[in-house]
Amino acid sequence: MHLPAILPWGAAEGFSKQMLLVLLSVVFIAVFFVLAARKQQLVPGKLQFAGEAAYGFVRNGIAKDIIGGRDFIKYVPLLFSLFFFILVNNIYGAIPFFQLPTFSHVGGAYVLAGIVYFTWIAIGVKKNGLRYFKLATVPSGVPWFILPIVIPIEIISNFLVRPVTHSLRLFATMLAGHLIVMIAGYGIEFLIMQENVLLKGTSVLVLAGAIAMYMLEALIMVLQAYVFTLLTAIYIEGALHADSH
């Protein structure tokens, strides 16, 4: 499913379709929002209204609701970039011709989850000092004799498993969705090739199923972008208010 290698770049593979799509997505998002935000008016036009609705969704629906307080605005750029970067790269999978969600390759998901991982740890340390690691791993109000069990669990769940699940959730849903639609496509092609007319006819059933899966996949693409961003906001909020958790 790769484009032919555009450049003989890198050892094993060339410039993959994913790479092209990532760069395109940056152009799409930047152009759209800069155009929407460029000529700002108090009473917005259509484009500005769409841009404001999208921006407001992340700003108010995610950042303000989850992080809250006065300084949620500091984290809006990260959340906003993450949401639309992932959204556009996922939606590629539902657009004919592109037909490939970028995060069906795990690398991109690792990168984004890694950025988020180091961001919330940095926020926690900046806010609470090195005491943050104690706050994040030693829950208050737990009897001392349970601590030897709880602390390792907290370390594993917060600092080891969290970035893995964060990245793999995105990657796995995109890969699985992509595979299902792709397999359905090959299945239809295979069935149509059959000599038997009845067998040929069953391809219609597969097509119906494929369309349903395609719709579901489109929903999941949007949902995963939202979930990834929402979890990022929750992690940042947890780091900011570590002493009250």
Binding site: F33, G107, V111
Partner: protein, 183 residues
């Protein structure tokens, strides 16, 4: 089909959890560029508009509140003026009524006096005319009666003094009779 088999065969050995390092690099760089653009341009521009809009709305609210306060002050003033005007009107009406009553009473009194005067005058005139009539009648009636009586009796009753005495006595009897009848 062949393409699928070939790609499955070549990619089958690749662990899907192992990332392509170049792809990671491209995603990182791409995201960094996007993040830079968002931080530098998109968020400030949207936030500026949001802030301006909020200010415009809040400014509008403040202006509206001020206008409302002014309006209610003006209303209060008008109500006050209206109350004053009503009181004034009442006072004037009250005065007018009192004055009217006064004028009416004066007129009535004047009219009553006038009518009394006219009545008294009429009485006096009637009385004097009656007196005149009585006097003239008394004279004429006496003359006629004596003339008549002289003719009847055949005796000259020209002794005026005596005749007048007789007539007077007769008339006095007559008057006492008529006065008794009137009572």
């Amino acid at each position: 089909m062949n393409q699928l088999i070939i790609s499955a065969a070549t990619e089958g050995e690749v662990n899907p959890l192992m990332p392509n390092i170049w792809e990671m690099g491209v995603v990182f760089v791409g995201f960094a560029i996007l993040f830079f653009i968002v931080v530098k341009f998109v968020v400030p521009m949207f936030e500026k508009t949001f802030a301006e809009r909020a200010e415009a709305i809040e400014g509008g609210i403040a202006k509206a509140e001020k206008a409302q306060a002014e309006a209610s002050a003006a209303l209060e003033e008008y109500k006050q003026q209206l109350t004053d005007a009503r009181a004034e009107a009442n006072r004037i009406r009250e005065e007018a009524r009192a004055e009217g009553a006064q004028i009416l009473a004066d007129l009535k009194e004047k009219a009553a006096a006038e009518s009394a005067r006219i009545t008294a005058q009429a009485h006096a005139q009637i009385e004097s005319e009656r007196q005149a009539a009585v006097v003239s009648l008394r004279a004429e009636v006496g003359t006629l009666a004596t003339t008549l009586a002289g003719r009847i009796v055949g005796e000259a009753l020209t002794d005026d003094e005596r005749a007048a005495r007789v007539v007077d006595r007769f008339l006095a009897d007559l008057e006492t009779q008529s006065a008794g009848a009137a009572k």
